[in-house]
């Protein structure tokens, strides 16, 4: 029983949290790709920026003495999402829209997004320095312990309050996005434009509006993903730069341009990462009693050493690109 509890603590909970972050980031990447047809490399820095905005707002809240039962990081989330969405719109207006107007190729937009990455990262480091910050300076993390002694376990399942909230917030956002895309006029217009931009324009869809909405949704989700990442790990300027690649992997594995694929891909990549660095010996230890003498399991039976966690996403990415370039769900072809 203890082994199962250990597995739940180490794999199920942290994998779900990481998967939520990846999924929210990948949705933004995939939406931008679907509508604007370019890989938006600055998405990771939009996430970091959102996290810093949330951090600033949370600090203001604490300074004003506002105390609520939920952590201030989540309390300020709607406002931070709105601000990040506005900045995302500004980035589009300032950097991408002029290039689109000129009829630049998607590759040029991709390189421009690298420029935006550099600008955002430079600015964040200029303003906030390169040190690490934490959301929990003023308030402690509340930890729930679910007692498993009734089922014969000696250790509890532990989950922190932010983790619970992260999973709930992700579920709500994904549900909201689902209804937006399937029920609302604008959402349907977005899907139409992702399918065929010219046809959408001819049938009277306001493509400029759709582009704006795409940036708003992508920016808001990036803010949530970044804030959750900062809550889960710590807040630093190059926080999301390391995570943009697994997010791209998730979007491609799910099929670029496919929103549900991005969600599935996000969780798939997250669980693949957590499972591959998981030390299987800790779960399989009871087998030692059954195995003959001298055949005991080694102390560390992880598939991949922890240092190489990041490479797991790429190996999956490469296999996907080779075996099924359109991703699990049929996305845009390669």
């Amino acid at each position: 029983m203890d082994e199962l509890v250990f597995f739940i603590n180490r794999v199920l909970i942290s994998g779900t949290v990481l998967g939520s972050i990846y999924a929210l980031g990948a949705i933004g990447v995939t939406l931008i790709f679907g509508i604007l047809r370019f890989a938006h490399f600055a998405h990771g820095d939009m996430m970091t920026m959102g996290a810093f905005i949330a951090f600033l707002l949370a600090s203001v809240c604490t300074a004003l003495g506002i105390v609520t039962p939920i952590p201030s990081g989540f309390l300020v989330l709607p406002v931070a999402m709105a601000i990040t969405a506005v900045i995302a719109l500004g980035l589009d207006k300032g950097f991408y829209a002029p290039l689109r107007k000129r009829g630049a190729k998607p590759v040029t937009l991709l390189i421009a997004s690298i420029g935006v990455t550099l600008i955002l990262q430079g600015l964040l480091r200029l303003i906030f320095g390169s040190g690490t910050r934490s959301f929990y300076q003023s308030e402690p993390k509340e930890i729930f312990r679910i007692d498993m002694s009734a089922l014969g376990g000696s250790r509890p399942i532990t989950i922190t309050e932010p983790q619970v909230l992260m999973i709930v917030v992700t579920a709500l956002l994904v549900l909201g996005l689902h209804f937006f895309l399937t029920r609302s006029r604008l959402g349907k217009a977005m899907r139409a434009m992702a399918d065929n931009a010219d046809l959408a324009q001819v049938s009277g869809i306001n493509t400029a509006l759709v582009v704006r909405v795409t940036w708003i949704v992508a920016g808001a989700l990036a803010c949530v993903a970044g804030t959750m990442l900062a809550l889960d790990v710590a807040l630093m300027p190059d926080l999301a730069f390391n995570i943009i690649l697994p997010i791209f992997a998730a979007a491609i594995v799910g099929g670029l341009g496919h929103v549900y694929g991005a969600i599935v891909g996000g969780f798939l990549i997250a669980f693949a990462e957590t499972l591959s660095v998981f030390n299987w010996t800790s779960v399989l230890r009871p087998l030692n009693d059954l195995l003959p003498e001298g055949m005991a399991l080694p102390a560390n039976l992880a598939l991949v050493p922890t240092e190489y966690k990041l490479t797991v996403a790429f190996v999956i990415l490469v296999i996907t690109l080779l075996a099924r370039p359109t991703g699990i769900f049929k996305g845009a072809s390669s």
């Binding site: 690298i114 420029g115 600008i119 320095g129 730069f241 690649l245 240092e307 990041l310 490469v318 080779l322």
Partner: protein, 441 residues
Amino acid sequence: MSGEAQAKRIDLANPTVRAIVLFSAMFVLILAVGFVQGAANSGLLLTQALAYALIALGLNIQWGYGGLFNFAVMGFMMVGGASVVFVSFPVNALFWDSEGPVMLGRALLAFLAGVLLVWGARHSHRLGVRGGWKTALLVLAWFIAYVVYRSQIDPAAAYIESTAGFVGGLGLNPILGWLFGGLVAAVIAYIVGRISLGLRTDYLAIATIGISEIIRALLKNMDWLTRGTMTASPMPWPVNLPQDYQAQGIPISESFVYARFGFFALLLAIFIVVFFFVQRAYGGPWGRMMRAIRDNHIAAGSMGKNVTGRQLELFVFGSVLIGMGGAILVTFNQIFDPAGYQPINHTFMIWVMVIVGGAGNNWGVLLGAVLIYIVWIISDPLAQAIFLNLSSWSQSLGWGAIPEIDSRALQMRVFVLGIIITVALRYAPRGLLPEVVKREV
């Protein structure tokens, strides 16, 4: 100001005139920086800038000639660096006297056995294994190969790290190491190209950036080979080191000037040879074919050109130069520090050099590389000066000083780089010296 007025009278639309004007401006800038920073520092700056120009030339072959998106510049530079460490670092007798070589040999055998196993599984259809069975067999073969290799390399790595520290080098001439770096980069580029060159641009960008991160993770953590984050230093030079000049009785400040400019002369000779060949290749039938493939690969394919084969060729050639440039930088800086490689400082900066200089134009890329490197270097002290002024101003207003000016000013470089690339894309998308396409009317 007068220079600007003069430039207006000159016909800037003429590519040659434009190149001459811009290169003269670059030399004025170099002289100005040299005047401010002193001879020793400008030797440092120029040598590094030229090494980056070599790397940018490699990227220009890939992106400018062939339109291939390579975001793995950093990875190939690291490969070159690790190779030069292996070839030119002094011999580590402790390792060669220990069990290490034997254990590594066994690991190599295990690796080859794994390769054979996977190869066999890939060709299992000849034995009548088809469909899902073949896939299952392939996965199984990969897994067994991985486990076998890990079972040999893990103890070998642990043993070497605990006894000898790391493999050390072969103690050969660094120039051999540079060539070896190019060779290893070529082999890796061949494998990477075979896997990913069929992909569309966005996918290729993501795939290559992923490969470069994998290379970084490997070299950073293979302590037995590269000494990992403990860094391999000091690397020997192919020319006299400052210390050698000091031993001859030359004062310390002058010894740095002599040594750095000696290195610069060697690098310049290599660069001129490489530049000559790269430029000739561009003008010749080979270059025309590459441009045809870049501009319309479908038409080129229907004319009987082997599109993927040629693209692979470009990718390998470009990577050779990138690997060599990375190796030269490691030798010149005398240190290989896997933790010091960042996508921003390496991959993206080289991209900015190529885009700003003018993709497809080798002279433009040279100009772009030197200009961007100078801007990258001087934006730190400039930002520091601006911040110090701002800080004293805010202090005089009673707001207090700006904290951590040093580390913040360093980040200004990243911001400046971002501004440059976005401005260049918007107002000069073809670069300072655009590609000149000659057409017979």
